[in-house]
Symmetry: C2
C-alpha cells in the first residue's frame, strides 16, 4: 500500500473507469477504485446509479467521472441551458454532413428512418454531457451524493468545481494529455493527475505513456500521478510505477468483462481485435478519440469526408446514425472507444478476476525485476 492507497482508502492503486455500475462495484469491492463514467446519463439516471453504488460497494469508495469540455459549440454560440439546446444544436448540423451520413447508411444497407421513431439525442441517448448545459446538470446530480473522487475527463475542472468538491470532502482528478495541461491547473488544487496517453481509449493526445508519464511527474511536484493508456496487465502496471506513477487508471480492459454492459456483438469483435484495429479519430465526438476502426471512422476520416464537426455536433450526428446502423444489424458501422490494449482482451472474465490477475502479474513482475536488478548490481 503506497501513499495514494492510504489517501484514497483502497488496497491496490488500480483505478477502473467504466460506464457500468457492476464493473465499478466489483473493482471497488475487490480493493481497487471503481469510477463511474456518467457522460451519457441524465441527472435522474446519475442519482439512481450512485444510490445503487452506495448500496453495493460494501462501504468501499468509488469515483465519478464527468466531462467538462472547455470549448463546445453551445457555449460558444451562447445557447445557454434552455430546454431546446439539443434541438438548437441539431439544427446547426450542415445539410452536407447529414447527406454524407445518409449516403454512408445507404451504402451499407441501413434503411432510411421512416420518422416513426425519431432519434432524440439527449439524456439516455448519445453523450449529452458533451454539451455545456447538460454537463452542468450532471454535475449537480453528482453533487447531491457524497463524493469520494470526482474526475474531469477533459483537462482540469474549473477552480470553483475543485473547491466545491473539496468542501464536500472529495478528491479531484484531472486527465491530462501533455505536461502543459497539468502546468495550466497547477495550484488550483487538483489532487491527482491522470496521464492519458496516446495508447488510451477515448479522448487522447499524441504522447505515448513512456514519455508522457515521467514528463508529467516531473512538472507536478508532490501531486500524485496515475498512468492511463495501454494498461491492462501487471507488467503494464509495474511499468507505470517505474515511470513514476503512484497508480494506474484502466478502462478498456473492463469492456469485455462479464459485468460490462458493452453490446455483445462489439465484445465479440474486441476479443479478436489487434491494437492497429483501433484508430484515433474525430469522427465520434469532434475531438481525437481512440476507438474501434469502423466503416464510420474510415468514411469520416477519408478523402471524401466533409470534415468532422466540432464538439458536440459530431457526437449528435454519430449517435443518431450509428444507433440506426446498430438497429439494422450493420455492425461494420458500430464501434466505440477502446484503447490499444484491446490486443490483450482475448476472453470474457469477471471484473474481480481481471483485477486479481493484474495484481498477481504485478507481484510476479516485481519479483522478476528484483532478481534481474540484484544480478546487475
Amino acid at each position: 500500500m503506497n501513499q495514494l492507497c492510504r489517501d484514497f482508502g483502497i488496497e491496490y492503486p488500480v483505478f477502473a473507469f467504466s460506464h457500468c455500475r457492476d464493473v465499478v462495484a466489483a473493482v471497488s469491492r475487490g480493493g481497487g477504485m471503481g469510477v463511474l463514467g456518467v457522460v451519457a446519463m441524465s441527472p435522474e439516471e446519475i442519482d439512481i446509479e450512485l444510490t445503487w453504488l452506495e448500496e453495493h460497494c460494501g462501504g468501499a469508495p468509488f469515483g465519478v467521472d464527468v466531462v467538462m469540455p472547455a470549448k463546445t459549440v453551445d457555449r460558444e454560440q451562447g445557447l445557454g441551458d434552455s430546454a431546446s439546446v439539443i434541438e438548437d444544436l441539431t439544427a446547426l448540423i450542415p445539410p452536407g454532413h447529414r447527406e454524407f451520413a445518409e449516403r454512408l447508411m445507404e451504402k451499407h444497407g441501413v434503411p432510411r428512418s421512416d420518422g416513426s421513431e425519431p432519434y432524440r439525442f439527449g439524456h439516455g441517448h448519445g453523450a449529452p454531457g458533451l454539451t455545456a448545459a447538460y454537463g452542468k446538470a450532471q454535475l449537480e446530480a453528482v453533487f447531491t451524493h457524497r463524493n469520494t473522487f470526482l474526475v474531469s475527463a477533459l483537462g482540469a475542472p474549473p477552480k470553483e468545481v475543485i473547491d466545491r468538491a473539496h468542501a464536500e470532502g472529495a478528491r479531484v482528478g484531472a486527465m491530462v494529455g501533455k505536461p502543459e495541461h497539468a502546468l495550466k491547473s497547477l495550484g488550483d488544487g487538483v489532487d491527482v493527475y491522470i496521464c492519458q496517453s496516446y495508447e488510451a481509449a477515448a479522448h487522447t493526445g499524441e504522447i505515448g505513456s513512456m514519455v508522457l508519464v515521467p514528463d508529467v511527474v516531473d512538472v507536478v511536484g508532490d501531486v500524485p500521478v496515475l498512468a492511463a493508456g495501454g494498461i491492462g496487465s501487471g507488467r503494464q502496471m509495474a511499468a507505470a510505477m517505474a515511470l513514476g506513477a503512484q497508480g494506474v487508471w484502466t478502462g478498456s480492459i473492463w469492456l469485455t468483462t462479464r459485468e460490462s454492459s458493452t453490446d455483445p456483438r462489439v465484445v465479440q469483435h474486441m476479443l479478436t481485435m489487434k491494437s492497429t484495429d483501433t484508430v484515433r479519430s474525430r469522427s465520434q465526438t469532434g475531438k481525437p478519440n481512440r476507438q474501434i476502426r469502423t466503416a464510420w471512422t474510415e468514411a469520416w476520416d477519408g478523402p471524401e469526408s466533409p470534415g468532422n464537426l466540432p464538439m458536440p455536433l459530431q457526437q449528435i450526428l454519430y449517435s443518431e446514425y450509428t444507433d440506426r446502423a446498430r438497429r439494422a444489424g450493420k455492425y461494420e458501422l458500430v464501434g466505440g472507444p477502446v484503447g490499444q490494449v484491446v490486443s490483450r482482451m482475448n476472453k470474457v472474465r469477471s471484473a474481480g478476476d481481471v483485477l486479481l490477475e493484474i495484481i498477481e502479474e504485478y507481484v510476479a513482475t516485481m519479483e522478476r525485476m528484483s532478481e534481474t536488478y540484484r544480478s546487475l548490481g
Copy 2:
C-alpha cells in the same frame, strides 16, 4: 547483468543507435552497446568507420545498423544495381512534386540552384541505403569486417542474410513495429527483436511501447526483446524491463550529446523542443518516420500537398531540397528524425554521462519500486 548482457558481452543492457562513431565508441566503452547506423554511408565510408571503431572501442563490442527495405521503387521497377540507378530513380520524380518543392523553397526565400553545384544523391548524400542496390553494397562492406551485432532497421532481414551473419559469429537484430512483424520471421533465427514503438524516432508503427513491448514478448517465446521508443532515462529503462524487455534500444537521446555530429543549429532546437514538436510523417523517406515538425513536413502533409512519393523517391527529393535550405540558412525547413523523448533532451552532455545517468536512475528506480512493492505486500 542479465542473460542478454552475458550473450552480448556487455555490462549494461543499453543499446545506443547513432550515426556518429564517437557516440558508438563512448557507449561501448562505457559498458553498453553502441550501434552505428550506416544507411547514409558509402561502402568506403563504412570501411573507414568500422576500422576506426575496431581501434577505438577498447575491445568492447559494437553493432551495425543497416536498412533493408523489402519494397523500394528501384526493386519494383527492376532497375537493378546499375551505376545509373540514382539517376534512373531521380528521373521518376513527377514534375509536379518537384514544382511543389520549388515553390516551398521560394516561399521561404531559399535561392534557386544556379546549377554550379548540382545535388548528387548517393554515397555521402541523403540515405542511399534506402535503394536496394546501394543497400546491398553497404551490406557487403559491413561483412568485410568482423561482426558482433547486425541490425535491420525495417523488419527482419532475409533468411540468407541472417545465416551469413551467424556464420560470421554475429547476432542479428530485427526492428518490429507490431507483433505480426515478429511472427513473420519467427524461426528464421533472429537473435533479438527490437520493438520500435510509436514514440520512437525515425520509422515507426502506431503502437505505443506500453502495449507493443509485452505483446511482442508474448509471441516471440525465448527470443529476447529490446524496447525502443521514448527511452532516455533510468525510469524509462525500468519500465521497459517491467514490460518484459531484456534491454533498451535508445537513439534520440544521443543526438544532443557532445560527441554527436548533429548540426549545431538542430541541436539548439532539440534542446527546447516538446514531444508534440515531433511528427510522424512520410515526407522524409516515403514511410512514416518520426521527426522534427518543420515547414517541410507541414507542407507535404498539408492540404495542398501532391502526396508523398514511395521510398526512395521522397528521400531523394527531401535530401536535395532540405540540403539547399540548410545551405541557405533556412532552418525552418531543416529537421531530421527525433523521438518524443526529445522533451527530456535539455542540455548537452557527454555520451558517457548520459549512459551513467540512465544507469544511476535505473538503480534508484528499482530501489524505490522495491520499497513500494514490499509495502504493498
